[in-house]
Amino acid sequence: MTTLTPMAGKPAAKGGKPETRRAKAKKRLTSRTASVIALIIAILWTTPTFGLLLSSFRPAEEIKTSGWWTFFANPSFTFDNYAEVLLSDSSAGRLGSYFINSLVITIPSVLFPVAFAAFAAYALSWIRFKGRDTLFIGIFALQVVPLQMALVPLLSFFSSNFALEDEGKFIQIWFAHTCFALPFAVFLLHNFMSELPGDVIEAARVDGANHGTIFRKVVLPLVTPALASLTIFQFLWVWNDLLVALVFGSGQDTSPMTVRLAELAGSRGEEWQRLTAGAFISIIVPLIVFLSLQRYFVRGLLAGSVKG
């Protein structure tokens, strides 16, 4: 949406003249209040997730009859919930199958938009042609358009022209995710590409390179961090998506874990042993990606802000 380029900066300088004893005492007091408030927020924010994680390892009977906090007085530990929800018959969840669907959906839905956006962002940043600014602003504006605007016609476009069945429906999910991702992806990569120093491009041009060579050999290597942060964004977006998958996928053949979990939460809302284990399985993959690559994610966040 909006660029936040001037935000990253050096931390404010510390120091100044020596403080009086009273000021020091006062400062210590406010910093203690601050720590307490921060601690309360941190606890409030982590406890719900922790409760879910802990519960997923408790026997089904105990989850349903006692709170997870009683675990500390009466610990008992099992992996049964995970085995049940992942592998067993379809009424119990069979999340394993949906886990595979999530993977099959996510990989192409990340690759395509990142690649296509890189091409488009290059043209919009470094090729001079008439109407470039208008085109860029058009794509930029598309970011905010709710994807609800496209759902009904796009679905009937697929069902009337292609009649995809069973696993074939992955194609329409990939297609929808790719289209919906492009405005933000182009915008984010354009932000990074247009900031590259002009003399680097100019030097390559003087050496006789055409746009293809400059794109491949000069620009792409320089924007690798941006590609990384876009990849993480798109991965999280697709893996965590419910709406697109509900509309374009169907059943055990193509629906991802989010769809299955939402179903389980609705129809079997009291089967907490499946819900806790299932939710944790769906959470753990993005969380690992997220935590290990958080640096890139934050960089992307600060450069582009997120789509809705």
Binding site: M7, G67, R216, G308
Partner: protein
């Protein structure tokens, strides 16, 4: 018991293989073509090649469908008979939809305000402390969790057991410990809306914290020092130095969250499916168009969502134009 069978899953991997092969093929061809492009100065043709895939997909996948949705919003459920403004009249006269609109308004007001305020306070409290990175990560974590996952996490917090004293939901147990009666938090309107909104705030606060914290760190040290020499207290420092300095970031965070709250779908779908008076516009759009086969009504709701974000689009485009002219 029909156990999961890996052979049943094989067609999916075949499909994935096809998808990846298609990707390699398309990108390979594109790279070959751009390599053969004429010299640097023949920009027009090169631009067309570079923009072709993205442009084509945006036309087929977003622009044409969006126009079609506007048209459909003036037709009946099956898209066959023109009904004029009937769908819009229905939207603003039906009692259930009135409630949906009121709920959405509540989301759009509460989520950005509370999440931004909490995120800002937290960012200031943890600024330059020893545990800052960890503290930030803890609150930021929900950003990586799906709305569906978050919905289940919080459904568990709100769980209600009518028959026994022993509660498995944390919130009800706390209420019982404090001497109150356990409540079915997600069933009782209008308060259940608030309990859903709390989940969204829980998710979004980390976003505010990270963006605002980066912005706070960018405030020049001299300004802070000058204010301190003038003897301002913490309160004055916050309102006269911090807030004005980070205003652009605050606006971005508020706008981003408003849009997210406006389009919110997954949380409501997972936690209540829009029942018990908790539906919002995006959920109702889905229900009308894809559950009740009311394409016209669903499209009208999508158009309404679009109209609500239009001012934001115009504002953003203006700001972008101004920025590009500065260069």
């Amino acid at each position: 018991m029909d156990q999961i069978d890996i052979l049943d899953e094989l067609p999916k991997f075949t499909q994935l293989g096809i998808g990846i092969a298609a990707f390699i093929l398309v990108v390979g061809i594109l790279l070959l073509v751009v390599d053969k492009l004429p010299g640097y100065d023949k920009g027009r043709f090169a631009a067309m090649v570079f923009l072709l895939p993205a442009g084509l997909l945006l036309l087929i996948g977003m622009i044409y469908p969006a126009i079609r949705t506007v048209v459909l919003s003036f037709f009946d459920g099956k898209g066959e008979k023109a009904v004029g403004f009937d769908n819009y009249v229905w939207m603003f006269s039906d009692d259930a939809i009135q409630q949906v609109l009121r709920n959405t308004l509540l989301w759009v007001i509460l989520v950005p305000l509370v999440a931004t305020a909490t995120g800002l306070i937290y960012a200031i409290m943890i600024d330059k402390t020893r545990t800052e990175a960890l503290a930030k990560a803890l609150v930021f974590l929900p950003m990586g969790i799906s709305f569906v996952g978050a919905g289940i996490i919080w459904k568990f917090v709100y769980a209600f057991n009518a028959n026994s004293d022993e509660q498995i939901g944390l919130l009800n147990q706390l209420v019982v410990w404090l001497g109150g009666d356990a409540q079915p938090w997600l069933l009782n309107g209008p308060w259940n809306n608030l309990f859903l909104i709390i989940v969204m705030i829980w998710i979004q606060t980390g976003f505010a914290t990270v963006v605002l914290s980066a912005s706070i760190k960018a405030i020049p040290g001299e300004i802070v020092e000058a204010a301190r020499l003038d003897g301002v207290n913490a309160w004055q420092m916050f309102w006269r130095v911090t807030v004005p300095s980070i205003r652009p970031a605050l606006v971005v965070v508020l706008v981003t969250m408003s849009i997210a709250a406006l389009k919110l779908f997954d949380l409501v779908r997972t936690m209540t499916a829009g029942n018990f008076g908790t539906s919002v516009v995006a959920n109702e759009m889905y229900t009308q168009a894809f559950r009740l086969s009311q394409q016209g009504r669903g499209s009208a709701m999508a158009v309404f969502l679009f109209l609500l974000v239009t001012p934001i689009i115009i504002y953003q485009v203006r700001a972008m134009r101004a920025r590009r002219e500065e260069r």
